[in-house]
Amino acid sequence: MVRGQDPQDALQPSAAPVPAAQVLEAQQQRIEAMRKASLATVGVFGTDSQGGGSGVCISPDGYVLTNFHVSSPFGHRMRCGMNDGKMYEAVVAGIDPTGDLAVLKMYGRDDFPTASIGDSDAIRVGQWCFAAGNPFVLATNLQPTVTYGLISGVRRYQYPSGTILEYSDCIQTDASINPGNSGGPLFNANGELIGINGRCSFEKRGRVNVGVGYAISIKQAMNFYGNLRSGRIVDHATLGFTVATDNQGKVVVSNILESSDAYRRGLRFGDEVLKLGDRDIATANQLKNVLGIYPDFWRVPLRFRNEQGVQDTAIRLQSLHQPGELDKIVEGSSERGRQPPGKPTPPDPKDPPADQTEPDKPAKTSKDPLADRYVARKGFGNYYFNRWELDRILSLQEPKKPQLPTSGNQDPKRIQFTGQVLGEPTTVQAVFDPEKIHWTLGDKTESVSLKNGWSPRIQKQEPLPIAIALRLWYQWHEQGPRALGETTYIGKSPVLGKQDLLDDTRIVLGEITAHVYTSSLSGDIELIELYTDRQTDPAEVYFEYAPEASLQRLPSKIRLQYGLETRLAIELTGLESQAFVSPASDAGVQP
């Protein structure tokens, strides 16, 4: 009761206070934010429309973010219900069993409503937020349930609880998160997506909300999204070193692998770690927390202090799991999901476990409209999407493909790139013919075989790998990457000096592995990394294109880098193709 007001008055309907205009306005804004947010909220069900969790649509062509633990019981096929009251058929694309994320793809529209992505780094304790989803599978009419609450904590870390699921740098909320909310969106008060709800603290209270729910930050989810679209089973990262808090409260390196990139960049035992990514590090816990938001092999900035002072560098992260380790975990969890306790069902021949299907063959599920959208392969949630993404990045270049020389296009050919060292009169030449790769710097020419002998050149950090990269650049455009070796689309990765993430494709070329980074807008190759192994710095060959100057779309500048040091920068002046005459057949006519 309001003080000083007559109790009798308060009981009169006519005396009911009129809410302030501000209150009504705030309410109207909240209603609007929830209405908009509900449009993109997805209910995830089995193909029999049973069971389920939640998800959120983030692209008009139907890509959905959800939890791995929501998608895994359904195997690779599910149905998604949306606020328009319709069910859409969906398949799983990529999965992240460590970070509890999965990406699904819905079919049936090309204008799915999407959530606008918010900034999860900007949220603070005390701000309002709301969750939308399908708790207790209540949404039989497919309208999501919305629960309102506070941001109770930020940057929380939740240890793996009996599984490998690790929630790092997550958001804690007291908005009700119940079974069925898993995988669904957490929005800020403006209706922008800030997290994927996934876990609660329950302990002895049974599986109902106790005012403590956790959401994976949307920053982490979007870091992984590009990789998840590749259809792979994606992995998290380790640093290659551990830290401890010393007696002065500093976070110092307590152990470091000499094979790690951090070691190669100069980090040593006892150095103080100051910053990883864009986050200051004040405790050992914080480092673990920040690390969790990055996929493996990402190159992230690191600031540390040694005897010489503060050092800024960038390190490549290593994989958290051994090759094949995640496949086994995924296998286990999807089998658990398929067989409810007490009801063992014989394996359905139409629905083979992912690892038993022959590679590259669509699973033949009779009458399934999406049978051709699923391809089982070891290491993948759904290999179909890997092929799809590779086709996508190749098609980006279609409108303005580099014009390769056509004169003398008869086989066999001899391809010759010519240029000169940037700022010097020294000329360079990279030539490859059907027999060898030749590299000329000034007056010195050396040759390597087309298939091997490359590793020592990379290990010794020689300039010749520029020629190997140029040949790869040429062949990528002439034959397409699939003709070159085992090709896998990795996802989107950061490249030093670039604002946006680039598409990352891995090609195994015999003894070395190449990573080709292409612009997500133009499809142009911007970087080729040549790895001998993960214990040695790769040769990094950066390509620059003069803006629209060259109609041929050929690179204008090429720069070779090892570690963080430029080894050689050249300006490209010409590319020609000639008919190849084998020196061996010439031998007879030479004097």
């Binding site: 009761m1 309001v2 007001q5 109790p7 308060a10 009981l11 009911a16 206070p17 809410p19 302030a20 501000q22 209150v23 306005e25 705030a26 309410q27 804004q29 909240r30 934010a33 900007a122 603070r124 304790v125 005390g126 701000q127 309002w128 609450g149 506070l150 941001i151 109770s152 904590g153 940057r155 929380r156 804690q172 007291d174 800020n188 008060a189 403006n190 603290s201 302990e203 002895k204 209270r205 909300n209 106790v210 005012g211 403590v212 004040a282 405790t283 816990n285």
Partner: protein, 340 residues
């Protein structure tokens, strides 16, 4: 009668906190809202406590609040405090050691002493009464989520009722049976006991109680102990009515547990609680009504926190003198007189 209050509270909330009500043209990062500022200042008075436990569903952590000059911590009296020094972790990550200076068994509250904590203490205003319908927030380290300098967790709620925790007809088994603030949100989780319940001005309106479940319905009750009860309890503890064991004056011919007819559980750890294992027939203890499984909490208002302190206290009482003994039997507190 409740509605106008809720609406007023809500108007205040929306007016000052809803992002929608903030100026649109503010540069990033957005200015801190009233609630963010409130939480930031209130959390400095909440501490994380670590002590005994860690097995069989007994947590080894709980929450506490700094009161007064900041060198006194008020918290729930629980097994977590059964250690020589309780580890206190402050909002800024400092690790301090605190000593239990006294307990109030009836309210299940304890006071801890810190040296030079530099914490802002909550001021306990007994006139500050929570009212049904009032918006409140809890700040606790529930589930031990926060560690080091990480902030404790916040939950929003509304006061549902002010009531007594009577257990006569209900299935509630609580030692404390007095007045509580019942809230509509799951505040009383593991580790939350001893945390703060604050109002919209950041003032302390209650101390989050221990976990409590109704045995009949299985429902968990979420409650806090109101400030007037806290103030009275703190005064009782500070006035020395409940003191730690003191061996200043030794009796010439003191009581001994064996002579009283008490057999305690094996004394295996430094702070083995004074649990009664057996009571010999026709002994003084039996005549006073002591039963096996009773826990001896106090003798003559001196706190018994271990078998060691029980022996020390008994050493100060002449065998010919009678004394008062406070027992916990299940959730009942029983006072009895031992008369030689």
């Amino acid at each position: 009668m409740i509605r106008p209050i809720i609406l007023l509270v809500f108007a205040w909330l929306c007016g000052s906190m809803c992002p929608g009500a903030q100026a649109e043209d503010q540069p990033q990062p957005s200015p801190r809202s009233g609630l963010e500022i409130l939480f930031q200042s209130a959390q400095q008075s909440v501490v994380k406590l670590y002590g005994a436990g860690g097995m069989k569903g007994l947590e080894s952590y709980q929450s506490g609040i700094a009161i007064g000059d900041g060198n006194t911590i008020l918290t729930s009296w629980s097994t977590v405090l059964d250690v020589e020094k309780v580890r206190v972790v402050t909002h800024d990550g400092r690790r301090l050691d605190a000593e239990v200076i006294g307990v109030d068994p009836e309210c299940e509250l304890a006071l801890l002493k810190l040296e030079n904590s530099k914490l802002p203490g909550f001021q306990l205003d007994p006139a500050l009464e929570a009212r049904p319908g009032q918006r409140v927030f809890s700040i606790t380290n529930l589930f031990g989520i926060a560690a080091g300098n990480e902030a404790c967790s916040y939950q929003k709620g509304v006061v549902m009722a002010i009531a007594n925790l009577q257990s006569k007809f209900s299935g509630l088994r609580s030692v404390y049976r007095g007045k509580v603030i019942v809230v509509d949100v799951m505040t009383n989780n593991p580790g939350a006991a001893g945390g703060a319940l604050i109002d919209l001005q950041g003032r302390l309106v209650g101390l989050v109680g221990k976990e409590l479940r109704d045995q009949q319905s299985g429902i968990w009750i979420n409650y806090s102990i109101p400030v007037d009860v806290l103030v009275a309890s703190v005064q009782r503890i500070q006035s020395g009515k409940t003191r730690n064991a003191n061996t200043a004056t030794l009796a010439k011919n003191p009581h001994k547990t064996a002579d009283l007819g008490l057999v305690l559980i094996p004394n295996v750890i430094p702070k083995t609680p004074a649990f009664v294992d057996q009571v010999r027939s026709d002994s003084l203890a039996q005549k006073s009504g002591v039963l096996p499984n009773d826990l001896i909490l106090m003798i003559n208002d001196q706190r018994i926190d271990s078998q060691k302190s029980l022996q020390q206290v008994l050493l100060g009482i002449e065998r010919s003198d009678s004394f008062q003994i406070l027992l916990q039997r299940g959730t009942e507190l029983i006072r009895t007189q031992v008369r030689p």
